[in-house]
Symmetry: C2
Subunit: 324 residues, 2 copies
């Protein structure tokens, strides 16, 4: 039987990398030495079985996704990742599960050159809580409240394939996905790629105003930017870039899943029109597609329009954990 | 019906205090400006219903305890608290529960002049994950691996009353507690007081070597210090200070619950004999009783002795979340 301490030592304690963590796992606290003059960005997300992922979800994918959704918050702030803590409740200490989970977690951590610096393990319903730390220069953060009238609205990558995979799992699709289509879409649902390089490039170059990551659906998440910035917007729904699988579906589904799919983990950000060339360059240098999809306006409210500028009513609602 | 966003706004978002948090709840990340030259101490704890607290536990006490156990980790490092994040899974958004929980949480936060700077709420089995941040000067941390042969072993406050309350709830006591006794002991179990002022005083004065907070029982937690420091110890079990209720019980119960009770949230720390006067002064200035209870030795292993120095075998085991 695997004890709590063996579990941590075997699966989560790694040879000490050269990192900013002076003291990692195994003491009362982890210690970090902040880079002089930099601010610390902090985000915490909790994933619950049956809510954020299916019971029986593959452990490796889950390890990836748990860290990815947190890194996505750093990306939306433009902060460079430094390290993270992990608090984990498990029904039992299963070696296979722990090996897969830690492998998925550390593969993504290594890709961002960050370390697990501390945490907690306990028995309980499968629940994963990661708190991630990043750094950025004062005044560079991409805040939700910084959008200005006249700003372009931009989207990274593509939207909707994660929602399409969920619809397929739920049997909601009139035209089912082929096996290949399902595999492609499922990757977007299970192993999102946080847009850290783009977020950091936008913040460090000082070319974007507001940003948010799209987790609950674009319309809802953009709504947070509008509310906190005290502005409105017109969104060209037909300019939204669908994922490769969603791109083969009919217009109504494309519009609905692009505008309010959820689980996209792309960035939605705003920037002045004069920054267009710089934004395209930042997308190019970080190998991240960026698409211009609308305009911030002083008139309150979010106006959805089609490719011809005609008003669209998609009857959309954003995801709320206590309403659905 | 209370939405996720209303819930955060009503119960967890407070007028922005003057604090080190530049940006608090409501953006993708919180932002902190570390004090120049200071290190950041970080600790994360997860509390699960039915594991760390009874189902139906009073929400106000739970709000207090969730933050207290995290502050206790900062205390054991000697770090001064700065702020914390809260990730919360709830079966449903009940106003009474949220009002009580947030009241207990913020009362303790206010006592330490710290702010909730961010977090996450979701639906799920009641689970509370707090990550707490503190600061301390480089080289001042009270690490588990810093005990030296010849060090005195010290305990703050008193031990065992929390374990006594648990035994009473479980009906394990041969002589039941009176109502008054139960109320006294239960306070120690439900609303532990983290020894932050003492930990900070010890670290800032540079008079202690190693420290840990006693959450799983003294013998087990002291064992972590011994293992990481590569030393042994002799512990005078009869010198351990029992809580006021446990003090009225028989010798065998006093010894067992003082040595391995659990949930005490007192500090166990080591310091050179030359620091005795300074330690007593630190206890005095922070209004925290401190008691000398043993000696660190180069010979490996933990030797339990009675008041006459005779060996004691209490047959104790520390708490392990995956073994019990």
């Amino acid at each position: 039987m695997l004890s709590e301490f063996d579990l941590i030592q075997e699966y989560f304690q790694r040879p000490h990398h050269a990192s900013r963590a002076i003291l990692g796992i195994g003491d009362d606290c982890a210690l970090l030495s902040p880079t002089p003059g930099m601010q610390t960005a902090i985000s915490s997300d909790m994933l619950v079985e049956g809510r954020h992922f299916f019971a029986g979800e593959d452990a490796l994918r889950l390890g990836h996704k748990s860290l990815a959704v947190n890194l996505s918050d750093l990306a939306a702030m433009g902060a460079r990742p430094v390290g993270f803590t992990l608090a984990l409740a498990l029904p039992s200490a299963e070696r296979d599960w722990l090996a897969g989970f830690s492998q998925g977690l550390f593969a993504l951590a290594d890709a961002h050159n960050i370390e697990l610096i501390g945490g907690d393990t306990t028995k309980g319903p499968l629940t994963i809580c990661i708190t991630v730390f990043g750094e950025l220069a004062p005044g560079r953060a991409l805040r939700r409240g910084a959008a200005l009238p006249g700003d372009d609205i931009w989207i990274s990558g593509t939207l909707g394939d994660a929602r399409l995979a969920l619809a397929a799992y739920r049997g909601e699709l009139a035209v089912p996905l082929t096996e290949t289509e399902h595999a492609l879409a499922a990757v977007r649902m299970h192993t999102p790629i946080p847009r850290v390089a783009l977020g950091v490039a936008l913040a460090e170059a000082g070319i974007a105003h507001a940003a948010i990551d799209i987790s609950d659906g674009l319309v809802g998440d953009l709504g947070h930017i509008l509310k906190r910035s005290g502005v409105g917007a017109t969104l060209d729904v037909d300019a939204l870039p669908p994922g490769p699988v969603l791109a083969t579906r009919d217009l109504a589904l494309r519009r609905a899943y692009c505008a309010a799919g959820g689980d996209d983990y792309e960035l939605c950000f705003t920037a002045p029109a004069g920054a267009r060339a710089a934004i395209l360059a930042a997308g190019g240098s970080t190998v991240t597609p960026v698409t211009r999809v609308g305009t911030i306006e002083s008139r309150p409210g979010l106006r959805l329009v089609d490719a011809h500028g005609a008003a669209l009513d998609l009857g959309l609602a954003s995801f709320d954990h206590f309403k659905s």
